[in-house]
């Protein structure tokens, strides 16, 4: 793998104009809209609706970026994971003699380079709005903002890489997008809400993400150490990428 291969992956993704527009909408624009609505309510009835900014709003923004922006991560991750195969170009790259593992590995930094700037921009917008629209509300400390940024990058990276790996494993972008969105938006919250599952719920990546979230205001309903949460996210991501790499290695190109 070299820098040009990573740049090539970036090029393939950013030239999909429609997808890029949607990714920006699902990350940056979603945060702007959320603050805009909250600010509008505040302006219309300050007695009933508090200021749009403040620490609590930042927590809400993180939820928006990881949940709605998570859809962008799925779109970008699946395109990076299966785009070459879908277009039939993977075969053309394999016949150059370059190793399949290198071809697969280049997708990872390529996809991250495309997604993370959007995520960080959305987070920056959220931080600015948190302070600018705080009014008399408490604002987050610099260390909390830094922790939030690290957490956000980690969670979005995990979501992206899971999508990238999963799409390469199933070999179909449409199937991968459907399954991942179903898992992310419906099945994961459902599993976490079933008390009878007890500590087994620690295995759900969403539980790990919630456990590590710096605000930690959302109760999980079961005990989970930070170490376990890091391990769950890491194992899911590494195992998915390993399975995807193995599949890429054995694929009939």
């Amino acid at each position: 793998m070299n820098g040009r291969m990573i740049a090539a992956e970036v090029l393939k993704l950013v030239r999909r104009r429609g997808q890029m527009i949607w990714a920006v909408i699902l990350t940056v624009v979603a945060v702007v809209v959320a603050y805009g609505i909250a600010w509008g309510y505040h302006l219309s009835n300050a007695g009933k609706y508090g200021p749009a900014g403040g620490s609590h709003s930042l927590e809400g923004s993180l939820w928006i970026i990881t949940t709605i922006g998570g859809v962008a991560a799925v779109l970008i991750g699946t395109t990076a994971g299966i785009g070459d195969q879908s277009a039939g170009v993977f075969r053309e790259l394999v016949v150059t003699g370059r190793s399949r593992i290198a071809l697969f590995a280049a997708r990872i930094p390529g996809a991250l380079i495309v997604l993370l700037p959007m995520v960080l921009l959305a987070f920056a917008v959220a931080v600015v709005c948190t302070f600018a629209l705080a009014g008399d509300l408490r604002t987050p400390s610099a260390s909390l903002i830094a922790k939030d940024a690290v957490w956000l990058i980690a969670v979005m990276t995990a979501q992206l890489l899971l999508a990238l790996g999963f799409s390469a494993v199933v070999g179909s972008r449409a199937t991968a997008v459907g399954v991942l969105l179903g898992w992310q938006l419906a099945l994961s919250p459902l599993l976490l809400s079933i008390d009878q599952l007890g500590p087994v719920r620690q295995l759900v990546p969403r539980a790990a993400a919630l456990r590590l979230e710096p605000f930690s205001n959302e109760p999980l309903g079961f005990a989970m150490t930070a170490g376990a949460a890091v391990a769950v996210l890491t194992v899911w991501t590494v195992v998915m990428l390993a399975v995807a790499a193995r599949r890429t290695l054995r694929l009939e190109a």
Binding site: N2, A8, R15, R16, V89, E92, V94, V95, T96, E252
Partner: protein, 318 residues
């Protein structure tokens, strides 16, 4: 692009397979194929649809693993030294594929990015050589089939290849494009490159190639120069004579003749047991039967006739 080039790989055949076999479950797609492609020529890989041509190419290029046998590309054993060998090979398998949302130039850049730095520097030259510079910055989704084929060949040229492997390269080309393609292949051969061209179009192979192999049912049935292949087989002569029906009756009764067929100009005879010495006897028999003989000559057979003789799926051949 090097116009006069020196080989970077060991001398000898550019492709060599020995007992190469590829199975899909119980089905044998390539059956103990033994093939040797000499360096510096246009080599036709000829066979009906489903003969195993593409599977053999895919196996050679590492797109699918071989079930048994040995193979070499540019004198290097594959898959052991596959990366080294393929660095000097340009290939199109089936039809060339591209990212339709990217321009022609961007698609070549993506292919060059996985090769060495020199490949990036060859992008403009490759586009220019294939006459695509003026459309290089248009999205490939807007390209015609012929333009995609040319872009596929331009992508092959990024490697400055010693060997080009082209699978059915004239598919989708109009007559003008096919004519242009023939000239292009000859130019490449003139530069010292080898072009391995898989096709089911006999006429194309006969016009473009110096040598060929005929494959059917996954087996390489025959290989050699085009004239060697066309000439090989049973001894066949063309006979121009007076009373054709009388001549045919006499010849059918002769044990020296295996088959007799009418042609536009007379009769075509297949001599039994390829016995050249039987020809004077046949001539005497005809003369004794009172038949005038104007001409008797070895039949000039075409690659197509030889191909049809060797392969089993005559009806499928275009």
């Amino acid at each position: 692009m090097d116009a006069t080039r020196t080989s970077h790989t060991p001398a000898g055949p550019v492709i060599r397979t020995s007992g190469l076999t590829k199975k899909f479950g119980d089905r044998i797609a390539v059956n103990a194929a033994t093939l040797e492609v000499p360096r510096g020529c246009a080599f036709g890989f000829l066979g009906p649809n489903g003969a195993g041509k593409t599977t053999l190419i895919r196996t050679l290029l590492g797109l699918t693993p071989a079930s048994a046998g040995a193979m070499e590309l540019l004198g290097l054993p594959v898959p052991e030294r596959r990366a080294e060998a393929l660095a000097r090979v340009g290939a199109i398998v089936e039809e060339p594929s591209f990212h339709g949302h990217l321009t022609g130039r961007e698609n070549l850049w993506i292919a060059a990015a996985v090769r060495d730095t020199a490949a990036v520097e060859r992008i403009d030259a490759s586009l220019g050589r294939m006459g695509l510079l003026d459309r290089a910055d248009d999205r490939v989704a807007t390209y015609s089939m012929g333009m995609r084929q040319r872009l596929g060949i331009a992508r092959c040229l990024l490697a400055d290849p010693e060997l080009l492997i082209l699978d059915e390269p004239t598919n989708g080309l109009d007559p003008g494009g096919i004519l242009e393609f023939r000239g292009f292949v000859r130019d490449l051969v003139g530069e010292g490159r080898t072009v391995f061209l898989s096709s089911h179009l006999l006429d194309e192979v006969e016009k473009i190639c110096d040598a060929a192999a005929i494959v059917d049912g996954g087996r390489v049935l025959m290989q050699g120069t085009i004239s060697e292949i066309a000439a090989d087989g049973n001894l066949v002569v063309d006979l121009e004579c007076g009373d054709r029906e009388a001549a045919k009756r006499v010849l059918v009764a002769s044990p020296a003749i295996a088959t007799v067929a009418r042609t536009d100009e007379g009769l075509r005879l297949t001599i039994a047991r390829d016995d050249r010495e039987a020809i004077p006897g046949v001539t005497r028999t005809l003369v004794h039967a009172g038949i005038d003989i104007y001409r008797i000559s070895p039949a000039r057979r075409t690659l197509e006739e030889r191909f049809l003789e060797l392969t089993t799926t005559r009806g499928a051949v275009a």
